[in-house]
């Protein structure tokens, strides 16, 4: 017998140490058990917990935790260097046991896959880096299981969206093979693993390193990223067309977009922001006559959510911005919000590659070059995106309206980024602040 309460008692220490905790600026008040199940009773034991955490601002979050237990005397190689995955030890009927995050244990990762997708036969397990809101495990370089750490009621957008896109015949995603649900919550999804791919972010940095080193014009440099960005723009438009087909669209309502943007701005407690200038800029949305459609979108679209493979670009992770409540993440919006996300990502790439080089005498020259890279890449992306047949039905029909809607979403994204950076990476806050400056001055 294992007492779930013993495990829960370890969580106040464990949870805040996890990258997916997602509440770094909040104190954890309490953790309560919501559900408990033993998926494998013999050593190594696999137990599954659902817990409700309450924070000092009275907000709550529900986490799922597959944990492993092994007899304490066995020192297991897989825990070496994985202190963060270690919960502590508890007493069980079979003696004291070490409790740890089950996903770092290849045996238990097998057990879990078998539980979710009983038909799949695999032999090798590899844990991937832990993401903000989920943890992934790769099996045989063929399947990937993504386990959602924060569990919300209602369908997980990542599962819902990829299933819908696959139904639409949109091939540039990794299609779901099996999903693990409990009541109406998605717990995990198993998909085809995109073997041989590179995340778009890495590819962009590869291009930028070449540009910064050669000092050539980004459109003429060896590492010209324009054609890649163009193809990505085309795929993005196709994704939006497929999503429009799958979920339908409504008339875009720039007023309500502006309301959400203002609310988010008010919620962001960043003093560095000039709220008046930003709100004035949001006011541009009022002048929009035709705002295009409002529809389900990716919601957290950036280079890190794309992957270049031998079959072109793939789009990953449809969970939406992890810091936003689920209902809001699934709310329809303008497809240009995704475009805005990507444009912000191009700016980030140019800046991060610059930071990578460290202080340089010619920093101004490089910064100009980075700005040109960003412009060139954004142009190539937009040219293909807006040139894709059918996309005219989803985006504002007039160029002036397009620009207004797009800029408002770019600005709103940058506002979100400032909050995120101040909470997590204060050294990087200058990046979104610069973008806000550009758009409000």
């Amino acid at each position: 017998m294992i007492s779930p309460d013993d495990i829960v008692s370890l969580l106040p220490d464990f949870l805040p140490r996890q990258r997916w905790y997602g509440a770094a600026d909040l104190e954890l008040e309490s953790v309560e058990l919501a559900a408990f199940e033993v998926l494998r009773p013999e050593w190594p034991v696999l137990a599954w917990l659902l817990v409700d955490a309450t924070f000092d601002d009275a907000s709550t979050a529900r986490f799922q935790l597959p944990v492993g237990l092994r007899p304490l005397e066995q020192t297991e190689r897989f825990l070496e260097g994985k202190g963060r995955s270690f919960l502590g030890d508890i007493d069980t009927d079979n003696g004291p046991a070490l409790v740890y995050d089950a996903l770092v244990d290849p045996d238990l990762a097998h057990t879990l896959l078998h539980h979710i997708a009983p038909d799949e036969q695999v032999s090798r397990v590899r844990a991937l880096n832990v993401e903000q809101s989920n943890t992934s495990v790769v099996y045989d370089e063929r399947l990937i299981m993504k386990l959602f750490r924060r569990v919300a009621e209602g369908p997980n957008p990542d599962v819902e969206m990829t299933e819908a896109l696959a139904e639409q015949g949109f091939e540039h995603i990794s299609a779901p093979v099996a999903a693990w649900r409990r009541e109406d919550s998605d717990l995990a999804v198993v998909r085809e693993f995109l073997d041989g791919g590179t995340v778009g972010w890495q590819l962009a940095l590869t291009s930028l390193r070449d540009v910064y080193d050669s000092r050539e014009d980004p459109a003429e440099a060896g590492g010209n990223f324009g054609p890649e960005a163009g193809r990505l723009g085309g795929i993005t438009a196709q994704m939006h067309l497929a999503l429009a087909n799958a979920f339908g669209t409504d008339e875009g309502d720039p007023e309500s977009w502006a309301v959400t943007m203002r609310e988010n701005l008010a919620r962001s407690r960043a003093r560095a922001l000039d709220a008046r200038a930003i709100n004035t800029a949001y006011g541009e949305l009022r002048k929009v006559k035709d705002a295009g459609r409002s529809m389900r979108i990716h919601g957290d679209f950036h280079l890190g959510q794309t992957m270049r493979t031998d079959n072109g670009w793939y789009i990953l992770d449809f969970e939406g911005e992890p810091a936003i409540p689920l209902a809001e993440r699934r709310a329809p919006s303008s497809p240009l919000r995704d475009v805005a996300g990507m444009l912000r990502s191009f700016h980030y790439a140019a800046e991060v590659a610059l930071v990578e080089r460290g202080p340089a005498a010619e920093e101004d020259e490089l910064r100009t070059l980075g700005r040109r890279w960003e412009q060139h890449v954004a142009e190539a992306f937009c040219l293909e995106y807006f040139g894709t047949p059918g996309i005219d039905d989803l985006v504002p029909s007039v160029d002036e309206d397009r620009r207004r809607v797009l800029e408002a979403f770019v600005l709103s994204k940058a506002v979100y980024e400032v909050g995120y950076e101040l909470a997590h990476r204060p050294d990087w806050a200058h990046i979104p602040l610069e973008a806000i400056n550009r758009l409000t001055s």
Partner: protein, 555 residues
């Protein structure tokens, strides 16, 4: 050293390294300013030393030379400037004695308008050769067939006043297409094929094969009738000359080119055209995708077949292989890039294309020698020769082989003015700086490096006929793949190749858990590397660096 030829090895071409030679440009034995067969024979010691397995000779047949010899006016005679049939036989014999096979270009689609067959055919509409070429009352038929030399030819039809008819030509107007609907033509070409194989030739590189037949409502390329005739040639070779090879030049998209392998019943080999421009682009973009993409789109080929892969050859780098998607891709990548625009579709040799960067030249050859296919080297590239853009057409890459720093690059003792083309004399690529003699003496030369690579490749048949699988790598600048082959003794030969296509040092983590327990040994220096474990295998590469490892069982 190639060693004696194993005549029982009918699949030699799957592991061979080919060396493409222009007879005209290699060595001049009679001091008339033009290279010849005897000159080439005299230089076979060098070819043997280099270690290649097979010579590929550009056309040496009787010709008015209006298209570099691809306009043949007598299939059964040697161009007098190159020698005679006896010289050809001697070249073949001497090559065989050194363990080197010889194949030659053969143009089956058309002849020169100077060929006696055409001279007779054009005279009247009722002479014995009247139907040996494709004649028509007007010039409107088969308008779907594209014009290949759009810059010089307004139409695929040219008027012949003697017959008051038009004749069909897919290439230059002085190269009328043979009429393969005529059984006599089919027979005559089979006799040509037999003639040189009888003399000892080891096979043909078949020029421009997709266009043999014409049919209404088609573009006249890759027609079923064309494949039928190629099968007939293959049968003739298999029955009468087993062990000889047919290598097709079909400048098409890989998915279409594979038709020319038949089900293993047409050509033994086909060139893989799109690979080289993709390699060049991978280097320029510092990422592997241009290469892996094209390999992913390359179909499996039948048993007993092989790709011919090359870095450069006697033609310009062509970008004409087609599907709409590919054209869009090539257009997007090349059309906006000034350097690519300048270099693609025009005649350059390898080293000038690479801006004389030896690191890239080594990486390119390491790729060429380890990717799926038999490598074809172009004469002069092994010493890093340059080109002369001012010579016009494709002559710029066909200048004399640079043997020594002496007069005329040691190529000929003729007066300079008599040379068929001037040797390169510029300070970087000229013969005083770049020549065989100098590079032979210098142990750290590119020539010595390349020779060593040819030797290493020969020791590992897996590089010729092993399976090929690209490994996933998060770092886009790293191209890593495994070649695997189960040998006759049941032991599996595994080679791991890791390449860095960027000019910066790069790290990579390779997922090799399937091979846990194997110990990599670097193949050139035989240096043992740490064994592969369950965790990703970590490798760091210098700029443009590459490693070849054999994987051994630990212990």
């Amino acid at each position: 050293m190639a060693g004696p030829i194993d005549w029982g090895d009918s699949r030699w071409y799957q592991r061979a390294v080919f060396y493409e030679v222009s007879v005209r440009g290699f060595a001049d034995s009679n001091s008339d300013g033009t290279g010849d067969l005897r000159g080439l024979t005299d230089r076979l010691d060098y070819v043997e030393w280099l270690g290649v397995d097979c010579l590929w000779l550009l056309p040496f047949y009787q010709s008015p030379l209006r298209d570099g010899g691809y306009d043949i006016s007598d299939f059964l005679a040697v161009l007098p400037a190159y020698g005679d049939v006896k010289d050809a036989a001697q070249l073949i014999e001497e090559s065989h004695r050194r363990g080197i096979r010889v194949i030659a270009d053969l143009v089956v689609n058309h002849t020169s308008d100077q060929h006696p067959w055409f001279q007779e055919s054009r005279q009247s509409r009722d002479n014995p050769k009247a139907d040996w070429y494709v004649w028509s009352e007007d010039d409107q038929q088969w308008s779907d067939a594209r014009i290949i030399f759009v810059d010089t030819e307004p139409s695929n039809w040219t008027y012949e006043p003697l017959r008051e008819q038009y004749y069909w030509h897919r290439f230059f107007h002085h190269q009328p297409d043979l009429n393969y609907d005529n059984p006599e033509v089919q027979q005559a070409m089979l006799d040509v094929v037999r003639f040189w194989l009888d003399l000892g030739l080891d096979g043909y590189r078949l020029d421009a094969v997709p266009y043999l037949f014409e049919r209404d409502g088609t573009n006249g390329e890759n027609l079923p009738e064309t494949h039928e005739y190629l099968k007939r040639i293959r049968q003739t070779v298999d029955v009468e000359f087993p062990g000889r090879v047919l290598l097709a030049e079909a400048n098409q998209w890989p998915a279409d080119v594979v038709q020319y392998f038949g089900e293993g019943s047409e050509c033994h080999m086909c060139f893989h055209f799109p690979l080289m421009p993709r390699m060049f682009m991978a280097i320029r973009r510092s990422q592997r995708y241009p290469i892996t993409e094209i390999l992913a789109q390359t179909p499996e080929i039948p048993d007993g077949c092989q790709w011919g892969i090359f870095l450069r050859n006697h033609d310009e780098l062509t970008l004409e292989m087609v599907t709409d998607e590919e054209r869009d891709y090539m257009y997007a990548e090349y059309a906006t890039d000034p350097l690519m625009r300048r270099n693609m579709g025009i005649s350059r040799r390898l080293f000038p294309l690479l801006e004389n960067d030896r690191r890239i030249a080594e990486l390119f050859h390491a790729l060429l020698f380890s990717m799926p296919g038999s490598p074809v080297l172009y004469y002069g590239d092994e010493i890093g020769m340059g080109d002369n853009l001012y010579l016009g057409d494709r002559d710029g890459v066909r200048t004399p082989m640079q043997w020594t720093p002496d007069r005329n690059a040691g190529f000929s003792r003729a007066d300079f003015a008599q040379l068929y083309l001037p040797p390169l004399m510029d300070p970087v690529y000229g013969y005083q700086a770049v020549n065989v003699e100098g590079e032979t003496r210098n142990p750290s030369s590119f020539l010595h490096w390349l020779r060593r690579m040819i030797e290493v490749r020969r020791e590992h048949p897996v590089l010729g006929i092993g399976t090929f699988d690209v490994l996933s790598a998060e770092n886009p600048s790293v191209l890593a793949y495994l070649r695997r082959l189960v040998m006759q003794d049941g032991h599996e030969s595994i080679v791991l190749c890791v390449n860095n296509v960027s000019r910066f040092a790069q790290p990579v983590e390779l997922m090799l858990a399937d091979l846990a327990g194997k110990a990599p040994v670097e193949m050139i220096g035989r240096v043992p590397f740490p064994p592969i474990g369950e965790l990703p295998y970590f490798v760091t590469l210098p700029p443009y660096g590459f490693y070849w490892f054999t994987l051994h069982d630990e212990g």
